[in-house]
């Protein structure tokens, strides 16, 4: 008898059908997207060849160029540091507004959410475009752009930390007759301090990477040098700048990972 043969299948019919439809829809979307962009069929030879061509022109990196990029590199680090510091200061009130348990009322809660959303949805480079107009070109505009982008990130994650604190401790401090500033300092801050340090260091790490491109819109840093070299087709200098950026990023990432492990 045919039915005696037990057959095993990992998923039932409905789930298999669901999976099939999901894969089909994604495939259609991807193909339609490709058609929409009107790129056509790319010759599989040209793209790798063009990229390989670019890479061979970059070799060997122009080591002598290093002297010209040390200054902009330090500027990049300054931009990231000041931007992160500014964002940290600004993000504390934002986080207090955006946390359900510390926000005064519904309107302030939504204000907090709005600040977080707008800040996070607009890329650093777009913030930089705006602040170059108002602050004039230079690293100051870059630092402000970094700060505005980071406020949303820090405000959101810090707000989530504040929502998870033990409110009993805050009540206890309040029972001693503390003012609201003292409540924050002695009731809330000690509970979120490790998270605060960890988030700030993490964001600083991201900001180092972000501030390498600010120069493209005139907001200072090593990006200025990079784009100058690209526009001059000085590919060996470009390679040197890229190597230096890679080095700095690897060091900051290690530093940030080390610090976050300490505070956890």
């Amino acid at each position: 008898m045919a039915t005696d043969q037990p057959s095993w299948e990992r998923f039932d019919r409905r789930r298999r059908l669901g999976r099939f439809v999901a894969v089909l829809v994604s495939a259609v979307i991807v193909v339609a997207s490709w058609q929409f962009m009107e790129i056509g069929v790319v010759d599989p030879n040209t793209v790798p060849r063009e990229i390989a061509d670019l890479l061979t022109r970059m070799y060997p990196p122009d080591v002598a160029y290093t002297r010209q990029i040390v200054g902009p590199l330090i500027e990049t680090i300054h931009i990231a540091a000041l931007g992160t510091a500014g964002a940290l200061v600004l993000s504390i009130p934002v986080a207090l507004l955006a946390a359900e348990n510390t926000t005064p009322n519904a309107a302030t809660f939504w204000l907090g959410k709005l600040i977080v959303t707008v800040s996070r949805s607009v890329n650093t480079i777009i913030w930089a475009l705006i602040f170059v107009v108002t602050f004039g070109s230079g690293p100051l505009a870059g630092a402000v752009a970094i700060a505005f982008r980071s406020v949303g990130f820090l405000g959101k994650l810090l707000g989530e930390e504040i929502e998870e604190i033990d409110f009993g401790q805050v009540e206890a401090i309040r029972a001693t007759g503390a003012s609201s500033l003292q409540l924050l300092l002695y009731g809330v801050l000690p509970q979120v301090k490790p998270a605060l340090v960890g988030l700030a260091v993490y964001r600083w790490d991201i900001n180092i990477r972000d501030s390498t491109v600010l120069g493209f819109v005139g907001a200072g840093g090593i990006g200025v040098q990079l784009f100058r070299a690209v526009n001059a087709f000085a590919w060996q200098s470009v390679a040197m700048v890229l190597l230096v950026i890679l080095g700095v990023v690897v060091v900051t990432e290690a530093l940030s990972a080390y610090t976050r492990r300490l505070v956890r």
């Binding site: 994604s26 979307i29 991807v30 339609a32 997207s33 490709w34 929409f36 962009m37 790129i39 790319v42 040209t46 793209v47 063009e50 990229i51 061509d53 670019l54 330090i74 500027e75 680090i77 300054h78 931009i79 540091a81 000041l82 959303t117 707008v118 949805s121 607009v122 890329n123 480079i125 777009i126 475009l129 705006i130 602040f131 107009v133 108002t134 602050f135 004039g136 230079g138 690293p139 100051l140 505009a141 870059g142 630092a143 402000v144 990477r209 390498t212 491109v213 493209f216 990006g223 990079l226 784009f227 690209v230 470009v238 890229l242 950026i245 890679l246 990023v249 690897v250 300490l262 505070v263």
Partner: protein, 266 residues
């Protein structure tokens, strides 16, 4: 008794209070150096804030003519299309790299090479990659796809490799004991353990790719970014804010979709 006078000091995470103050002083000195280094000047900051307030007035209300509106829609679709295609190509490239970058499955030299590749991909901002891609293959969405694919590899392979490193090696040994080939081992022992995370990661990366695809147009790699830069250069700030609004809406939508899908899978 002399010890009747008791004093209490808040404990510190540092080894002693002296180390704590040294670290704080060092940090403050660094920030002062930074402030001097970039020409921080309170008067200039105040003036900048004033200018920004004026500019915000110019931004409002968001406005676009019918033609400009069509342009936003067309270029935004191009951004989304780039993100869609590049997410798929990025994941296809990432999977083998992730397996090779997992410490428990891959031989040491292969592991080191692929970890290096991941670091390189993560180190460079999408804008830098986009500039190079534009120089290599010319303006347009193809450069954007290459950029986003490259950036996806660093993120996706790294997180997927970490998940692969966390799998239960017992089931791998069990499947291997049945005499299966390496490919079969990957398919029946490793893959089932990482599929749920794989789905979550894919959607998460898709969400990030949508964000990236809205800015790389600034350097000519396709999508809405080019429209934004043009509007900025024409000082057409109401149009700029219309574009920014469209970017925020699309980004929020993608974030919402990704959050819903990830919650269902995890």
């Amino acid at each position: 008794m002399a010890t009747g006078e008791r004093s209490w000091q808040r404990p510190t995470v540092f080894r002693s209070h002296r180390i704590k103050w040294t670290v704080y002083a060092g940090l403050i000195a660094f920030f002062v150096w930074s402030a001097v280094g970039i020409g921080f000047d309170p008067a200039r900051v105040l003036q900048g804030i004033g200018n920004t307030a004026v500019l915000v007035g110019d931004f409002l209300p968001p406005d676009a003519t019918a033609r400009e509106f069509d342009r936003i829609v067309a270029k935004m679709l191009e951004s989304v299309a780039m993100a869609m295609v590049a997410t798929v190509t990025g994941i296809v490239v990432s999977v083998p790299i992730a397996f090779m970058a997992a410490e428990n499955l891959s031989p040491k030299p292969l592991y080191a090479i692929n970890r290096g590749l991941i670091s390189v991909s993560r180190a460079f901002n999408a804008i830098i990659v986009a500039i190079l891609a534009v120089k290599a293959v010319g303006f347009g969405p193809l450069a954007g796809i290459i950029t986003i694919t490259f950036k996806t590899v660093g993120f996706f392979s790294k997180l997927l490799a970490e998940d692969i490193e966390d799998i239960d090696m017992g089931s791998v040994d069990a499947v291997r004991a049945t005499g299966s080939s390496p490919i079969q081992t990957l398919l029946y022992a490793v893959a089932p353990q990482i599929i749920p995370r794989f789905a979550g990661l894919s959607v998460y990366r898709w969400d990030i790719n949508i964000r990236t695809s809205t800015v790389i147009g600034i350097v000519g790699a396709g999508g809405i970014g080019s429209v934004l830069l043009t509007a900025f250069n024409r000082y057409d700030y109401q149009y700029v804010s219309a574009i920014l609004l469209s970017i925020i809406v699309v980004v929020l939508f993608a974030e919402g979709v990704s959050a819903v899908v990830r919650r269902r899978y995890q």
